[in-house]
Amino acid sequence: MIKIANLSFSYNKETRVLSGINLEFDRRSTAIIGQNGAGKTTLVKLMKGLLKADEGKILIHEHDVSGKTAAQLARTIGLVFQNPNDQIFKRTVLDEVMFGPLNIKMDKQTAKEKAIEALKMVELDDKLEMNPHDLSLSEKKLLCIASVVAMDTDIIIFDEPTIAQDHGGKEKIRQIIQALKDKNKLVMTIIHDMDFVAENFERTIVFNDGQVLLDGETRDVFSQKELLKTACVEAPGITKLAERLGFKDTVLTVDEFINMKKTYSPPQ
């Protein structure tokens, strides 16, 4: 669905932020992890057409992003910003979520339906008339997620969706990601929460210093302890525990751990 070829980018002459990126995305749900400042947000802003590449290109459904207008891209690719303050600008919660659908020329009635449906998913449908700026940070993040979900695009990118979320908030986001996967959409998430990665994404890409360091099935990626360390990331807690106890296979969830524990006794 997305093909990135030899992509390079810099904000200014001194430092190159991304260099020679080659990646292809199919419909597998994908996590992007890596060090602060590695270039993760920059990459997704390029995909969304918010920045222009110095070299190389990005094709979405075979069409070059650079040849498309922001309006055309808005129909195909949705991006939830890392910082909600960069995204929110309307005066009420409902207007905020309706803005995107109206902007891609959905009729008002459909836009409202989509908006309310999305707000229900994040449980903000009882706050339609509130000013978004009076919401807490966790609610602002959920509002931004609803705004993008309402647009019903084929590709949806979340930039650190779980910031500020408690267990219940993460669970809502997990369900939204699952619902989007079920609709056969490409879901891509930048995230620093390794447990969430292990539980929700089929593929994981590790960024390091503007380049792809690792890319593969999530389980394989989390078995590469040394490379993960290079990128300032780590395996999830349960994976580390299993490793310390000498389990042969890379464990990703508590359930897997318990099943494996039954058939295994640790060396003394």
Partner: protein, 281 residues
Amino acid sequence: MKKIIVEGLKYKYPLADSLALNDVTFDIKQGEFIGIIGKNLAGKSTLCQALVGLVPHFYKGAYGGKVIVDGLEVKNHSIADLSLKVGMVFQNPFTQVTGSKTTVYEEIAFGLENIGIPRTEIIERIDSVLDLLNIEQVKDHNPFDLSGGQMQRMAIASIIAMKPDILVLDEPTSQLDPAGSEEVFQAIQSLSKQGITVILAEHKMEKIAQYCDRVLLLNNGKVVDFDTPGKIFSREDLEGYGLTAPVYTRVCKALGVKKAGTDEYPVTLEEAERVLRGDGA
């Protein structure tokens, strides 16, 4: 020595219809590392802000009870007075940026200049926090041209540079990479060991379990419990408060193994490893 005393604190934001903090009472000794946990909207940030005086001086609203920070009653002292004793890292680093400085370096210098630290010491302190938070390479960048994690690192650096006696941190590592998050917790722990009193609100239960001396469990503005991580995370009713224990606790609970000779489950990786190897704990 009691560094912070909170007694019957009640607080309601203007226009709100319910109390954000409802009869909160606890105290904290000098040098303790205290974690605050609770589901979204439980009142963690409000409590943090009540310790630095933003509640009630900035937000106004209805306020009752007492908060005494290092001998100063918050209600009767200005935010400026209090800021000499207690520094706070905000939940959203974006709201902490002054907006008037054009480099990360000047941004960190701002608070130090304000309290009249001599130039040579300012330079030393800034160099040391740039190194501690691993942001030397962006020291000449505009604060708004940073990645999210770099901005959060800068926010922490600005407060640590002030060397307050009491540090209040509201989810300070939410945007940090796992290695950075671990480093920040270690740095805060080492400050606490040097006698700095630390209060930290957090959703990362594994970190709370590993680093905090005691944990304050908040729910709907009320204190449910204030105890060691082992006791708090062994509670059977945690889920009822919208919380989950650290993964190490959950797995040991599921397997029914407690720490030898206690009624508590392991809460850290090391404890879980010991127990599951069968060495006791």
